[in-house]
């Protein structure tokens, strides 16, 4: 548990963790997020539309990475803004799981605005799956 305080240096690594995603996690997110697109749970359908198999919801990957950041902070409301580009699909095998590696680094500090830009690198097997994943976080 932490907060970003004045004097934090650009380039500082804040956290580096992994999170596993299996098919049950996709079904859970489909229900919780209200996104029932079959590419996220139906192998035959996913292959029919040209995917390598069932893939994770982009919003699940984004949500997991955002939760890593907001849980690292003492106060999750310190996350003022958060955006990503969905650059690569995350195939989720069955049986098995995809392992997301999430690393958060200080990208910029704006002392006047009282904010820090945290850059999130989210990768699977060394390949980045979210582009320009950045959050604006309140400086304490």
């Amino acid at each position: 548990m932490s907060a970003l305080r004045a004097g934090v240096a650009v380039g500082t690594e804040l956290f580096s963790v992994t999170r596993s995603v299996d098919r049950a996690a996709l079904v859970r997110y489909a229900g919780a997020g209200g996104d029932f697109n079959p590419i996220h749970w139906n192998e035959a359908f996913a292959r029919e539309v040209g995917l390598p198999g069932v893939i994770a919801h982009g919003m699940l990957t984004m949500g997991i990475a955002g939760s890593v950041l907001s849980d690292w902070l003492d106060d999750p409301t310190d996350v003022l803004a958060y955006g990503v580009r969905f650059t690569r699909p995350v195939p989720v095998p069955y049986p098995g799981e995809a392992v997301l590696a999430v690393v958060g680094t200080v990208g910029a500090v704006d002392a006047d605005a009282g904010t820090v830009r945290v850059d999130l690198r989210v990768s699977v097997d060394g390949t980045t799956v979210l582009g320009k994943a950045q959050a604006q976080v309140r400086l304490r």
Partner: protein, 153 residues
């Protein structure tokens, strides 16, 4: 060669606000928090949330997508939008919190069609959901870009 999409650029500038209000429940917040692995007690325990100055549990950072996507459907599913959802992939998403979403909130969403650009048989459709509470005060802004492939793209 790539086929054109049928996305209707004439709708740029239109605002869709016909979706009924979304009432946020503590159960839904906990369910969503579990699904994205958000473990802060502020999402799960009303006493901790109140001790931190909130009226009830607060939603995780990306929860507003639940509210936004319901409202976006009014635009995306409308025949005049010309969006074939089987040819859509999600390209970008961003959230700006004007204040935390709290259990008990009754949220209203105005979906602004901000841009439609087409290049090489792929239309990029950007919407901006302005989410506000019953008093009209801004709660969240959710910007989403969909990439829609043309027939041969």
């Amino acid at each position: 060669m790539s086929g054109m999409t049928h996305v209707n650029a004439d709708l740029v500038g239109r605002v869709f606000s016909g979706t009924p209000p979304y009432v946020v429940s503590a159960v839904k917040i906990a369910e969503f928090a579990d699904a994205v692995g958000a473990r802060s007690p502020l999402h799960h325990d009303p006493d901790t949330a109140r001790a931190s100055g909130h009226a009830d549990v607060i939603a995780p950072v990306t929860f507003a997508v639940v509210v936004a996507q319901r409202a976006e459907a009014e635009y995306v599913d409308s025949p005049e939008a010309g969006i074939d959802f089987s040819r859509v992939v999600h390209a970008n998403e961003s959230f700006t919190a004007h204040r935390p979403i709290v259990a008990g909130d009754r949220l209203h969403t105005a979906v602004h069609v901000d841009s439609v650009t087409e290049r090489a048989g792929i239309a990029m459709v950007t919407t901006r959901c302005e989410i506000s509470d019953d008093t009209g005060a801004p709660v969240s802004t959710v910007t989403s870009t969909l990439a829609v492939r043309g027939a041969d793209a």
